[in-house]
Amino acid sequence: MSLLKGIAASSGIAIAKAYCLVEPDLSFSKKMIEDSATEVARFQSALAISKSELEAIRDVAEKELGVDDAAIFNAHVLVLTDPELIGPIEEKIKTDQVNAEFALKETTDMFITMFEQMDNEYMQERAADIRDVTKRVLSHLLDVKMVSPSMISEEVIVIAEDLTPSDTAQLNRQFVKGFTTDIGGRTSHSAIMARSLEIPAVVGTQESTKLIQDGDLVIVDGLNGEIHINPSAEVVADYESKQEQFEQQKVEWAKLVNEKTMTADGHQVELAANIGTPEDLVGVVNNGGEGVGLYRTEFLYMGRDKLPTEEEQFEAYKKVLQGMEGKPVVVRTLDIGGDKELSYLQLPEEMNPFLGFRAIRLCLEEQEIFRTQLRALLRASTFGNLKIMFPMIATLGEFRQAKAILEEEKQALLAAGTAIADHIEVGIMVEIPSTAVQADVFAKEVDFFSIGTNDLIQYTFAADRMNERVSYLYQPYNPAILRLVKMVIDAAHKEGKWAGMCGEMAGDEIAVPLLIGLGLDEFSMSATSILPARTQIKKLKKSDMVELVNEALQMGTAEEVVEAVKARTGL
């Protein structure tokens, strides 16, 4: 047996066989063949199997993602029946007397090159679709097992280098018990998805795909960030009991589902959830969320080939607002750019995407996209307690401009006789230091602040959070961050406004005591973090935490802060 260490990305313990989601070896050589009729038949049978597999994937995707998002798989099916592709391949087998693999590769390469050379990023990506389909047919010709997240049909632990948003969307939630990835950190896409799916995960293991073979027995310990490969019976038994303990703890946590979140000395705060799609609401309700503190609307725009219509957006927002039954829902307007691309917008590549044309900057420039979203939001506002939040605000000018556009759309809708909620709070995400240091001025004009710590930390330390070599600078407990957070909370309170936090830090057990001490009003986190956080907060005294954080603010390093928190709270 062996042990691998990584980053604990999603809590819980999973024990199952490994399913290695790694590229199979599809190499082959050119062969001359005698009997071309048999070779064509071999090709046709590989095509037929591939086609029925893709149809099955499409059907699953239609059920899980809806017809529109599954349309791409339909295009894949059509590629396999394309007369302009199939004809030339069969022709080549017959006239050149070559093996099917070679004829397939030669012909599809021609199309791939053609699409790659088109001066349109969207079309260039279609080359990847053809490559995908080609690989599937090749795998059947070579009789090599094809791996795909959508093909999983038994309980497994997925082992991958990384999981893309489309991989995670295709994961069969019934069978995937946990996963590990070679790259990524706590805030990478796959980690966030794992928490919202409530699947134990360990990321950033660096070499799990090298060390784990398909079918190996694997234990994923999402609590300590450990992976055991082919463990002894003893270790398995040990983890089975740990798994049971964790389940029992979940039962304990579940008792707090309908309780308020109050410290031992009676200070009340609100615990809300971060969500990406209306489907995530189930988790929010089951985990006792007191609201939605961050609805990331960009998922409505991602993984498709055109912008969502006003109507599609309206339906999604309405669903979330209704689902929360009057509890607050903070909707963040489109936060795209940086590492989140939309192929159909064809934004030029940037040297520093995190410092570039993204989020509110893009919305103020591409106003039609922004206005469509605002109209959908305003129309949905009567179905619940909507709050609108603008991301990446760097200057007061940006906020005023965004608010003016919102006001224009509101007046236009009212003039047309559309019903809109009487009062919609409008706030900003504080994730750029310029905004944090000017929070006292912003506080006079916004209704609320929500501190986005993932970006605030990377901008404060000038360290790309995706760059593993500078990952030591991701320091949420550094006194510099605590001071910025304090400035924002104090500024909000001085104007009678509220301050929340929707970054990873809000659900972190070391950070929670500090944030209680700083007087944070709303904590928004992964749904599964809510009950553990509520359990923790009930044991804390606000007065003690005020003392703790005042000491922490004067400290020199993050390590000293962590020590102080542990010493005072017994963590």
Binding site: A71, E84, F115, I130, L307
Partner: protein
């Protein structure tokens, strides 16, 4: 031969999803259906052919069909283009 001209009304142009839709419709007919755009004439039953044109917003293209149900094919395709907001 049946022929009809269209102008793309979808801001995103004709790519994967609409192309797939058109090819699926064309496949229901026995007639040969072609799409004429920018001096190229491609088989409308070939998704790779249709996508390779990369027809953008505001551009015009022609559909032409030959065969027993040519008229029905063009009518149905015109209807799809219109109801999906792709072209008129």
């Amino acid at each position: 031969m049946v022929e009809q001209q269209f102008t793309v009304t979808d801001k995103a142009g004709i790519h994967a999803r609409p192309a797939a839709m058109l090819v699926s419709v064309a496949n229901k007919f026995v007639a040969d259906v072609n799409l004429d755009y920018g001096g190229k004439n491609v088989n409308l039953k070939s998704i790779l052919g249709v996508m390779s044109l990369g027809i953008g917003f505001g551009e015009t293209f022609k559909l032409n069909a030959n065969g027993a149900d040519a008229q029905d094919a063009v009518n149905e395709l015109a209807k799809t283009l219109k109801t999906e907001g792709l072209a008129e």
